[in-house]
């Protein structure tokens, strides 16, 4: 009878949608209950079978081409219109560069960090902070394939105090990216990775001044990707993890 209450939540557990604490209790129960673990195994098999069977239909190359041509044609401009616009744009650029480049860049970066901090806090407060739960970078990295429009490397953590908890997809200003969560001395650190050219705002590598956010942060651009590291760990730990990523990239 006791198992009935476990089994009622089994699908939610296998979807990774129960709170972390309950997840651990569930793990322990499954290890000791042959009936529930057999049930869990058969449900996982069905989930996998649905996943494979569900990827059934592929669009034709012709339809792909038609959609590209009909829905997403690039706006064209006439030659004269182009010249006029180019001249106007140049003028605005010259004036704008001298007056607002630094300020704009600065506030863009701060705004991005503000959003990054929100994402970090919201994710850690979530009952299921990660969609792929694994300490193995060789499991986490491939999980993102096909979900985000770029690839990235994850650092080797052997002989370091960092451990990978998992990852999830995220969005910054409509731009899809990867969100990885690490643990160091019971502090959680988020690493966000986005395609630099996809971000609507050009960002500088200067993180917000200490005190502006309640977290320690770093950001840099490397190989066309924009990295953000944020967490309540010490500045040294944030820098340590950032260095590992820089080396791996």
């Amino acid at each position: 009878m006791v198992c009935e209450s476990w089994k009622a939540k089994l699908d939610t557990y296998l979807d990774g949608e129960i709170p972390e604490q309950e997840m651990r209790t569930f793990d322990a129960h499954l290890r000791n209950c042959p009936s529930c673990s057999a049930d869990a195994l058969s449900r996982v098999q069905l989930k996998r079978a649905i996943q494979v069977a569900g990827r059934r239909f592929t669009p034709s190359a012709d339809f792909r081409k038609r959609l590209q041509q009909s829905v997403l044609p690039k706006p064209r401009r006439s030659f004269h219109m182009g010249l006029t616009l180019a001249a106007a744009a140049a003028l605005v650029l010259v004036v704008g560069t001298f007056t607002s480049h630094y300020l704009g860049n600065r506030s863009g970066t701060d705004q991005a960090f503000s959003e990054i901090a929100d994402l970090h806090v919201a994710t850690l407060a979530s009952s299921s902070p990660v969609d792929v739960i694994s300490t193995d970078r060789h499991t986490v990295k491939p999980w993102f394939q096909g979900k985000i429009p770029f690839a990235f490397n994850l650092p080797e953590l052997q002989n370091t105090e960092f451990s990978l908890l998992g990852g999830r997809m995220t969005y910054l200003e409509q731009t899809p990216g990867a969100h990885l969560i690490y643990d160091v001395r019971k502090h959680h650190i988020s690493v966000f990775i986005f395609q630099e050219r996809s971000l609507p705002t050009r960002l500088s590598d200067n993180a917000p001044q200490p005190g502006q956010l309640s977290f320690n942060t770093e950001t840099w651009s490397q190989g066309g990707l924009r990295y953000f590291v944020i967490g309540d760990a010490s500045a040294a730990d944030i820098d340590g993890l950032a260095k590992l990523f820089r080396t791996a990239s």
Partner: protein, 194 residues
């Protein structure tokens, strides 16, 4: 400048929307059960999404947003309207709560033993559309409950109970019935037995 702004917007839209093309088509085909209708649905979705892209809220989930457009477009199509007449898509399931998922038999094992990839596809195909869509969003698109909630515009509690019922219905369909020798029991296009 306006043109370059439009270009920038189009570029952003393309970068977000094009990687989802195959998935959207697959989902559309499952909903419409027809290639031509799936193509029309995807095309209309992209047109609507591009048109409404300026109103897309920064920082929100683009995938859930465009899937919601696709689903709403389907529901207002002729076939979608027909489906909603037989299956109440927005009925409130929350009061009933998730069904206890207690299995005495293991249709999953039977399914695998019979190597029934096609049987499973058929069973998914024959699910009522509101069960089919939530199962695909969860298992194939690997959406979180939160994303599914945003896509279907229903509370997370409803996502959980509907998903539970969808799985239960699928398991029932996959379980061989003694009176049937030819295959699983299937109730097409209705919500019988829900």
């Amino acid at each position: 400048m306006a043109l370059s702004g439009a270009n920038l917007q189009l570029d952003s839209f393309e970068e977000l929307a094009i990687p989802l093309f195959d998935q959207l088509y697959n989902f559309a085909h499952w909903l419409t059960q027809n290639r031509e209708e799936a193509e029309d649905l995807v095309q209309e979705t992209y047109v609507k999404a591009l048109k409404g892209f300026s109103s897309f809220q920064l920082g929100t989930n683009f995938r859930a947003w465009i899937y919601r457009i696709l689903r709403n477009t389907f529901l207002t199509s002729r076939k979608g309207l027909k489906v909603t007449m037989t299956v109440p898509l927005d009925f409130d399931e929350e009061d009933e709560g998730p069904e206890p998922a207690i299995e005495r038999d293991t249709p999953e094992t039977l399914l695998l033993a019979r190597s029934s990839h096609e049987l499973l596809q058929k069973a998914i195909d024959e699910l009522p559309v509101h069960f089919r869509e939530i199962l695909l969003l969860c298992e194939v698109e690997e959406m979180s409950y939160q994303e599914i909630s945003e896509t279907l515009a229903v509370p997370i509690g409803t996502v959980m109970s509907r998903l539970s019922r969808a799985r239960q219905t699928l398991r029932n369909q996959l379980r061989p019935h003694p009176q049937q020798e030819t295959g699983p029991q299937i109730t097409r296009g209705t919500n019988h037995g829900l």
